[in-house]
Amino acid sequence: MPVLPWSKKSAEIKLSTYIDGELEELEATALDEHLVFDASFKEKREAYTKASELANAAMAPPQIPDSTEFADCLIEVIGGPAPREQPLPAPSRKKLSPALLASIGIALTAGLTFAGLRRRGII
């Protein structure tokens, strides 16, 4: 059986790199040859490949939104006369922040109180 020129740990990292098609040609050839004879190494390659496939399948978005629609919408937003100044429209699910609502409330109350006091000639 051809012996790999790496430590056990390095060989496993190389195996991962090999699975991703990122190993240099010479190293890939050495691994190819080793995989023919070493059943446990081959088993490991299959297990890593399977784990990757499962992870990729789990993470994959169920759908990709339409790119053309997204691009057109984005261009509309930034394509005005002063594109760099123009903010994006607020996402629909966002509401006015409680802090902003509280500030508006305080300002209104203060204004009404002031007007009332003035009308009564207190100030």
Binding site: S16, A57, M59, P62, S67, D72, R84, L88
Partner: protein
């Protein structure tokens, strides 16, 4: 054997110049080229459709605003994906602080979104690999991936994007090429151990 990397080149340089000069068509073409990839990265980092859409909207606005400062030290692709990743990770961090996420309610919503998405008949395109595993296995796997240390999860997500080479991942994360390989391996090994425990292999 290694996947080739598209480095910053004259064509990209011209494209950047056109966009900075206000050419909306050039910017539209840039968005069309990288939208799907950017969305996949954001979705995989956040596992939430709406969060991912908001993040890539912000990301492309940032790209537009920052293009005149783009120095061309990396390809446009890795530069854009770095912005997407940074914004996605910020969103993820902020989200994990919310009570909603601490109580794990997002997992329930994610399941409902996935159910709805499967039935959706919009103009969006279905990704073939997304339909191959059961909902239960998907949730279990997502939980495992979620539990990985940040450095391993990031590299695993980036490596799951077929269009990215190790070299491009190293540019996006600002880590040496060798570290990309060793982190991908470490992430796989951890996943494998947990999957074997659950007899999922």
């Amino acid at each position: 054997m290694a996947r080739s990397i598209k480095l910053y080149n004259a064509a990209e340089s011209e494209r950047v110049r056109d966009i900075v000069a206000g050419d909306a068509t050039a910017f539209r073409s840039l968005v069309l080229d990288y939208h799907a990839l950017a969305y996949s990265l954001a979705y995989k980092t956040l596992n939430d459709q709406q969060d991912a859409e908001e993040v890539i909207q912000d990301a492309f606005v940032k790209v537009y605003q920052a293009l005149d400062g783009f120095r061309g030290e990396a390809s446009l692709k890795t530069w854009i994906l770095r912005i997407v990743l940074r914004l996605s990770l910020n969103r993820r961090r902020n989200r994990s602080r919310s009570a909603w996420h601490r109580l794990g309610l997002h997992h329930k919503v994610a399941e409902e979104v996935l159910d709805t998405a499967t039935e959706a008949t919009s103009s969006a395109s279905q990704t073939p690999e997304s339909l191959c595993i059961s909902q239960e296995t998907r949730q279990f796997l997502l939980k495992l991936i979620d539990e990985l240390p940040d450095t391993l999860r990031e590299v695993l997500i980036l490596n799951s994007l077929d269009e990215l080479s190790y070299e491009e991942i190293s540019h996006i994360l600002h880590i040496p090429l060798g570290t990309v390989g060793s982190r991908i391996h470490a992430a796989r090994k951890k996943l494998l151990q947990k999957l074997e425990k659950r007899d999922l292999l």
